[in-house]
């Protein structure tokens, strides 16, 4: 299996006058179609690492590859296209656009690529909403949905362009345990059905244990990297 994401000798230093190094010489790769988790203490550098993988942040030094292509040297335009078509993001805070309905939010990444929504994509959006159990609230404004519903809408949104990779930063961070289970089973199903690679930051030990690979970050370094035998 090929690597879909690869970090080579990544260092990240924040600040100009007072410099804090957050990531130290990170080398890690994630294979296609896998379901991975990143764990670690608060402030250890998990989000920073994920944001660098997702091209939202730039490393101070080192190289980032997505689908074998180097991305840390791309210009802003190309990065926008990459984020739109190859990567799906699910953030801890749901980040739906409050001015738009659930379905409009789900369709937004498609419309960024192509303003006119053809029938099959409209149906695909309905399917995704159904998949995450939101058919009933599809036409609700984001502000008229519960936290769990918003999070599930954000998941459907991340999938609309059938990205090859989904980066999720504590996607169930503020959901109750039942909804958390529910969301994870959805993500698992997507991984199985669409061969999408998942990299998920979580604090929840039980969730992490259900993934194929657990990477622990500690003080900006990879401290532990455990793979489940049957998957590899």
């Amino acid at each position: 299996m090929g690597n879909i994401v690869e970090l080579k000798n990544i260092n990240k230093i924040f600040g100009e006058k007072i410099q804090t190094q957050v990531l130290f010489d990170i080398n890690i790769a994630f294979e296609e179609n896998t379901f991975n988790s990143i764990i670690g203490e608060s402030g250890s550098g998990k989000s920073t690492m994920l944001n660098i993988m997702g091209t939202l942040d730039k490393p101070t030094s080192g190289e980032v590859y997505i689908g074998g292509k180097r991305t840390d040297t791309l210009n802003k335009e190309d990065l926008a296209v990459l984020r739109n078509q190859i990567i799906g993001f699910i953030f801890q805070f749901h980040y739906l656009l409050p001015e738009f309905t659930a379905k409009e939010n789900v369709l937004m990444p498609y419309r960024i690529k192509n303003y006119k929504v053809p029938k099959e994509i409209d149906q695909w959006a309905d399917e995704l909403l159904n998949f995450v159990g939101l058919s009933k609230v599809a036409n609700n404004k984001a502000t008229n949905m519960s936290g769990g519903q918003q999070q599930r809408a954000a998941i459907a949104r991340a999938l609309i362009n059938k990205p090859r990779i989904i980066l999720a930063d504590e996607p169930t961070g503020n959901l109750d345990s039942e909804t958390t289970e529910n969301v994870y089973s959805i993500l698992r199903n997507i991984n199985a059905d669409f061969n999408t690679t998942f990299i998920i930051i979580t604090h929840d030990q039980r969730i992490a244990e259900k993934t194929d690979r657990i990477v622990e970050v500690k003080d900006g370094k990879i401290n532990l990297d455990v793979r489940k035998a049957e998957k590899y």
Binding site: S47, N51, A80, F91, L96, K113
Partner: protein, 385 residues
Amino acid sequence: MRLAFSIALRFLKSGKGQTILIALGISVGVAVQIFIGSLIQGLQISLINTTIGSSSHITITSENDSKTIKNWERTMYESAISSPNITYISPSIDGPASINYDNESASVLIRGFLLEDGDKIYKFKDNLYEGRFPAKTGEAMIGKDLAIKSNTRVDDDISLITTSGRVYRIKITGLFDLGVSSVNDSWIVTDLETAGDILSIDGISSVEMQVDEVFAADSIAKDVQYTVSGEDLKVDNWKDLNASLLSGLNGQSVSSYMIQVFVLVSVLLGISSVLAISVVQRSKQIGILKAMGIKDKDASLIFVFQGLMLGVLGAILGVGLGIGLLKMFTTFALNPDGKPVVPIYLNGGFVGLSGLFAVLTSSIASLIPARITSRLNPIEVIKNG
């Protein structure tokens, strides 16, 4: 591009209160501009009308010893063909005389015209308040003030005493009121033949003209000067004779422009600051859109479209408001005689231009927020919740 437009529209719709407030702000600016502009244009036009509306714009006189134009039919013809801007043209014979009434005497100015042509310039007929227009030689009309002080009525005869001492009886057929006291007080208007007879003038004293573009009178006068062939002819125009009026009007125009520029600037500052605030308010949304892959250019366009739409909305409201204000002003601010205190001049082109300026200003104002948007890094939003 279309996505940016539809997002802009949605943003405006979901912040209705704010949208209406900004649009109102712009529209007040537009309305003030239309109101002040129309008011000042109206003032200037009415001032010019009362000053030169009923008088000669370009006058040809002779500088020879007798001060008369002998070959005047030729001069008239040459003047008429010298410029297409000349609307009315009349020969005139002028000269002083005096009349006696009771125990007093008053000096008067005899003015002889080809009456129908002279009337087009001076509008005697429109302002004839008693009697009729002179129809044959030996008949004349006089102004209101002169009629009152000399106690002259229609169909009275008056005796004119010329500078050479001759006495000439003339019949008054009508009384006019041109609204200019120097004219009302002294003019005795008759035909060319009668005036020539009384004043013993062979030829005419001057050729008088009106033009359609009063402010081009000086350049039209040059065309006339160039075309007429008689010797010793001098061409004057109202602008050269009314320099102080003109500089007054100029000052008024300049101050009107200044007001309009300041209104524009305040609209510009207002819109750009409100739009800048709205970028900050929407920075979360912009961050999400950028994380999802919207291009910087399209993200900026959202705010340009917002500015444009606000400008169009504000311009439409403002034009309505401005015209409404003017209507109210002309309906309620009246003189005792029922005429508006200030005659308003509503110029479609000017109104359109004011609206267009508002749209342009709003679009320019949106460039600052558009720039902020372009620079916004999605990571800032994603990290800080």
